[in-house]
Symmetry: C2
Subunit: 181 residues, 2 copies
């Protein structure tokens, strides 16, 4: 993630930047002292899926930092040139090698503290053949009672899984928005 106020040089001319409030603006930006380009720092989107096989969901054990060794839903940073749905599918393929059919948007979770918005889609697994990528130690299917709740990598993963199993019991899935502290 881009740490706010971490810009030291202009991306266009390489000149030193100074943090100041530009004219017609109301917050500090990195402004180039040579060419006066204003650099904006904005939140990033993380997109992922809840891949389901009957009453089981697919989790991946992380082979990378942060949270090495902990379990996560397949997810990662949204890239230019793709939609949130495209990105969610791509991350599911990259991290789990899973074959899915995307269903509806499921959670929209603000994580203000780290400048991120997490969007998870429901997905239907088409088979149980997985091929974990280099970012994943292992991928596996878990019923609600088998979820490693105390070894989950991120609070947005917990929030998404809790809402998923709750809606599944109800027999209807909504779209859930929340702020994650």
């Amino acid at each position: 993630m881009l740490i706010p106020r971490s810009i030291k040089h202009c991306r266009t001319c390489g000149g030193a930047v100074r943090y100041e409030i530009p004219p017609d603006d109301n917050r500090d930006r990195a402004v180039c002292t040579l060419c006066h380009l204003v650099h904006y720092e904005n939140p990033l989107n993380v997109v992922g899926t809840v891949p389901a096989w009957g009453d089981q969901v697919l989790l991946c054990r992380r082979n990378i930092e942060p949270r090495y060794g902990l379990w996560t839903l397949p997810a990662g940073f949204m890239e230019l040139g793709e939609s949130t749905a495209d990105g969610a599918i791509r991350e599911t393929v990259e991290e789990a090698g899973a074959h899915i059919e995307l269903e509806g948007l499921f959670t929209v979770l603000n994580v203000v503290r780290v400048g991120q918005l997490h969007l998870y889609y429901r997905a239907r697994l088409l088979d149980t053949e997985f091929a974990p990528g280099p970012e994943t130690i292992e991928a596996g299917l878990f019923r609600e009672a088998e979820i490693p709740w105390s070894d989950l990598a991120f609070r947005t993963v917990r929030a998404t899984l809790e809402r998923y199993f709750e809606d599944r019991r109800k027999g209807s899935f909504g779209i859930h928005c929340a702020d994650i502290g």
Copy 2:
């Protein structure tokens, strides 16, 4: 918006960057030729509201480029340190000086071509006293038949307004996801 491949210098050391695929990655990134920092370029979020007063909706006429003079819902780039809801309220205050109570998330619109995700919330106007900011020529209330459909600034505004009035006729509001070409 950040134009992809527009980075020429490293934000940390000011060195020249080269676009190349870093180890353990699968797409071109701006990599510093001196300190090897990898610079990521990601989609930006635009957040806004559909402020309603009975059967009328608040629109703002843009006093800035792009789309100077055309009509928009209050919206703008999400900032670090705020949630999507915080940003939607802030933009409504900045652009229209409107007093609102936020209601549910309403549209989630991917605009892949420009690397943006637009999120609009429904909002209830608490009064009809507006105080347009410097980015707005005028703010006004419009019934469905009065909306200046051919003078709207953005396709996401049109998509949001169409779905808003459709749901209003139905008597129930959903959350709508779409890709806007």
